[in-house]
Symmetry: C2
Subunit: 396 residues, 2 copies
Amino acid sequence: MDSIGVLDRDACRALDEGDRLAHLREAFELPDGIVYLDGNSLGPLSRTARARLERATTGEWGSGLISSWTEAGWMKRPQRVGDRLARLVGAEPGEVIVSDTTSLNLYKLLLAGLQARPGRSVVLTEEGTFPTDLYVSEALAPEVRRVTRDRLVESLDESVAVLLLTHVDYRTGRMHDMAALTEAAHAVGALTLWDLCHSVGAVPVDLRGCGADMAVGCTYKFLNGGPGSPAFLHVAARLQASLRSPVRGWFGHADPLSFSDTYEPAPGVARFLTGTTGILGLAALDGALDVWDGLDMAAVREKSVAMADLLIRLVDERCPGVEVASPRAAAERGSQVSLRHPDARNLIDAMARRGVIGDFRPPDLIRLGITPLHTRFVDLWDAIAVLADLLSPGRW
Amino acid sequence: MDSIGVLDRDACRALDEGDRLAHLREAFELPDGIVYLDGNSLGPLSRTARARLERATTGEWGSGLISSWTEAGWMKRPQRVGDRLARLVGAEPGEVIVSDTTSLNLYKLLLAGLQARPGRSVVLTEEGTFPTDLYVSEALAPEVRRVTRDRLVESLDESVAVLLLTHVDYRTGRMHDMAALTEAAHAVGALTLWDLCHSVGAVPVDLRGCGADMAVGCTYKFLNGGPGSPAFLHVAARLQASLRSPVRGWFGHADPLSFSDTYEPAPGVARFLTGTTGILGLAALDGALDVWDGLDMAAVREKSVAMADLLIRLVDERCPGVEVASPRAAAERGSQVSLRHPDARNLIDAMARRGVIGDFRPPDLIRLGITPLHTRFVDLWDAIAVLADLLSPGRW
């Protein structure tokens, strides 16, 4: 944003005019009259998601009925949608499936990881990580070692079975150095399990380049898969044969339709499937991924950084008393800007009444998502104008 | 069917004319030109399911966006749809949630049941039960005792933690006496876990009347929830406080939106929720349940029995060489008729090419589902006419 002199609404409009991704907004069915800065919590409905869901409903279910399990490819849908998603996290086809929820996928992979490191009893994670990650760890590991971010590397030792980290923090947006931490974990023989809920579709992720072992994430945030759309699960190809899912469902069997009494895990990542896949949810996600086809994640990131920098500058200039809780250095930040204010909850509610949708995270954070596919620079201006007005003397 | 003298197509038409449930067929969008006897595998699309899904997509997701978690009631949707479903299995509101898959729900409840019976190591189940039930049991229990159906009661002893049974067998349709087996299990202090996949919407089920402890089931068969629609899970109210879910997801927390670091299970059956609920799948199911509103399960059962008896009589009269593999006594049978023939797989394929859809189950079963909400008596005539023709000399 250094190129902007006077920062006003027209300057923001000019940024939109020069934005090579601006046309992508047309892919979405956004309600009129709102500024939606919550795509990091629930992404909006896209035209392709709607169309794909309609095709799955009318064509595949309504007309094809049971034959669609084979003829429409439902049986392999979790793998095929996973293959499409793999590119966005730097994985290869055959390393990702889409199924179940993030909580369940965490459970399956964390337990598989613990079993793959017998004699090690520790899951190492970070203070303040997403609650489910803690709950699941504490139910499964003999010891959960929770340390602050700066003490992660020194806390890795040969008692650690799995390093479990949320790549981008859900509250502050602070981002870990995946490559460095994965390397440090491997140096002591630990496996890594990355929670990518706030990363996928938000920042470039290179699981293979980082040598990462396992990952999970949701698809209803930046990927716009729909409310509660199925989660994904990644296992590096080199590890797949050595890891077993603790939940032996028939869809994770090598040959589900054999109805064999003997469990034989599917050869690849599909062994982590459990029961019958929710086809309608998968269809909406499949359609939502159309928007990402051919899209360069570096271009998305470039716009995301420009937008977050702009938002921070607007807050600095126009919102005294509001602290920027996200890292100011783009390299340390995901695709959100969190603001700290003692009245955060009331401010979020008041903003929503004026059409600016963000969300509140306890105890004092206003969380604003940066979603370059459907957000305009002028939206950021308008959002901060509302916040500044609410904060002006006599208004609050 | 004793009242029918000459059994011909007109007699079947007459049965349809006298059928008080005949109008329900209009609730479904069935393709023209097929006889669908596979509603026990995937129920058809209903107009109400479509409408409810459209409302969730356009209204709740598209327009409501993130606010729908509270304003459209998404947060409590698994409980509310569970409350609607409870009536169909003889449970009370607050005893059923709809979430995840049958495999995962089995896993959660079986592990919770084993933990609730410390010192007991055995899961008792039946030879030939659905594969997932075996796979899950063998992964979790120190000992899985598999016996034939006639030896179940004598195999119950004080080493048994959980009696896990599929109420209606997926291959033959043979139905257990839930009340008697639950009583026998309780007499030795074991818990019961009933798999109701082939029971819910197919036969009257009275979980509370039988004193049953836990149950799971799918919703995409007789309930017509859609492909891979979310499964249900039942825990009797008296047991809920004493059972813990092994999978501690944030939606099973007493207060998910507190984002607390400390896991505190929700007070009721909701503790068995895991991650973020798939709202689109739940919406289709919610709409599909509209068809069941006010419907007397006894009337559905009455028609189901009449249809199955008719089908068996048609096979006996017209299909020499075909063995009826389902019980002839209605009281021992769910809502399907399975036929045994050495060429079952080829016959099913040939029937499908002539518009009669059933399914094959290894090694030699033709499985025909009886679904009184959308199947006519004349459909059964037409189906067996095709089968008889295929079996006629020179044709096969």
